[in-house]
């Protein structure tokens, strides 16, 4: 009874990142998220979508609306890219120092309530994040 709806979006081009921002914003607004929370989850989605596109060589995002006793938004980013060899390293903030190595994962993690990452070198990566209302 918890999951209400789920929709998938392809992440193949740059404009898909903009689409992701729009879709996540609409979903969060519909669920009545506060403005700050909306901004946080949309920004996280933008970071993760870009990751999937650039490091994962393209993939997709699944947008899941959770409308049980607890209301929230769950986003799943899949790709069949090279995978991440050292996840702990990737979670550290690389991008703020401008090194270009940062995958935006650490930052996105701080913007959501739940963060899960599964990655296999040579197979791909799945990042699942959840923001509760």
């Amino acid at each position: 009874m918890a999951v209400v709806s789920s929709e998938a979006t392809a992440l193949a081009t740059e404009s898909d990142i903009v689409t992701v921002r729009r879709l996540v914003r609409e979903a969060a607004a519909k669920l009545g998220f506060s403005l700050v929370d909306q901004t946080k989850v949309v920004t996280a989605a933008s970071e993760l979508a870009r990751n999937t596109l650039i490091h994962g060589k393209g993939g997709e995002m699944e947008l899941i609306t959770l409308n049980g006793p607890r209301v929230g938004l769950r986003l799943k980013f899949h790709d069949h890219g090279p995978g991440i060899p050292d996840i702990q390293l990737a979670l550290r903030d690389g991008f703020t120092t401008g090194s270009g190595l940062g995958l935006g994962l650490g930052g996105a993690k701080r913007l959501v309530n739940e963060f899960e990452i599964n990655s296999q070198v040579g197979e791909g990566t799945t990042v699942t994040v959840t923001r509760w209302k």
Binding site: M1, V36, G68, P69, R70, V71
Partner: protein
Amino acid sequence: MAISTLNQNATLASIIEQHREAILAEWLREMSGATRRSDLLKESELQAQCSQFLDSLARASGTGTNAQAAAYEPLREILADISHSRAQKGFSPRETAMFVFSIKRPLFSAIRDAYGKDPSVMAEQMWSMTELLDSLGLFTTDAYLKSREEVIRRQQEDMLELSTPVVKLWEGILALPLIGTLDSARTQVVMESLLEAIVQTNSRVAIIDITGVPTVDTVVAQHLLKTVTAARLMGADCIISGVRPQIAQTIVHLGINLLDVTTKATLSDAFGLAMQRAGFSFVRADKRETKRD
């Protein structure tokens, strides 16, 4: 041998239709006990709710007894509304769920009257009805909890807003006197209020006064730092005032880096600095010698 499912469902629906008034009356009687809360709900309103529920149940049960099915959507909506309104009125979860559970006895009476002579059919009907009502009862409780959480959340927000007043000290200068302990949730609301106020009042300087905050730990210090950084990104400066010696010690001890942040011991020192930063200067109006007090 069980009657075919189609026949069985049609029977459930027709039982309700045939015995509607009796079921309704008995249901209302069942609810007249401890969970009735007539102080919160008028009799006429309750009767209307029951009628609506029963009609929807009769329609939906014609297609089966799966409470999650699409045919039960209208019924679920009715229950969600009832739960929501009861949560707001102050009913307990039990009192709310009893709306559904108290219909069991009258429905079973009706089933028994119809199938008393055929025990296996009666048993099947009663089991289907139990499953359905239990499921609906649980749905009601879930909906109630959701509403309740929403009410609590809003009350918390209201409380937090009341306890974090932002004061305009001068044109372009705000003050935020913090009093009491700061937890994560409160600090976030505080942060948001201050930043909103900065935009609304076009203030270039914000003084965060922590004289009334007994202790500052790493978490609080981090939140304050984040607030200062966020304000800076927006184009406003923050000054933290009211830093007592003990707090200064804690901050150094914890290794918190306040290098970028201006701090002042008192609110008045902070105000002086704020005026300077905002481009004002003080000139005493009366240049004559003043008498000693």
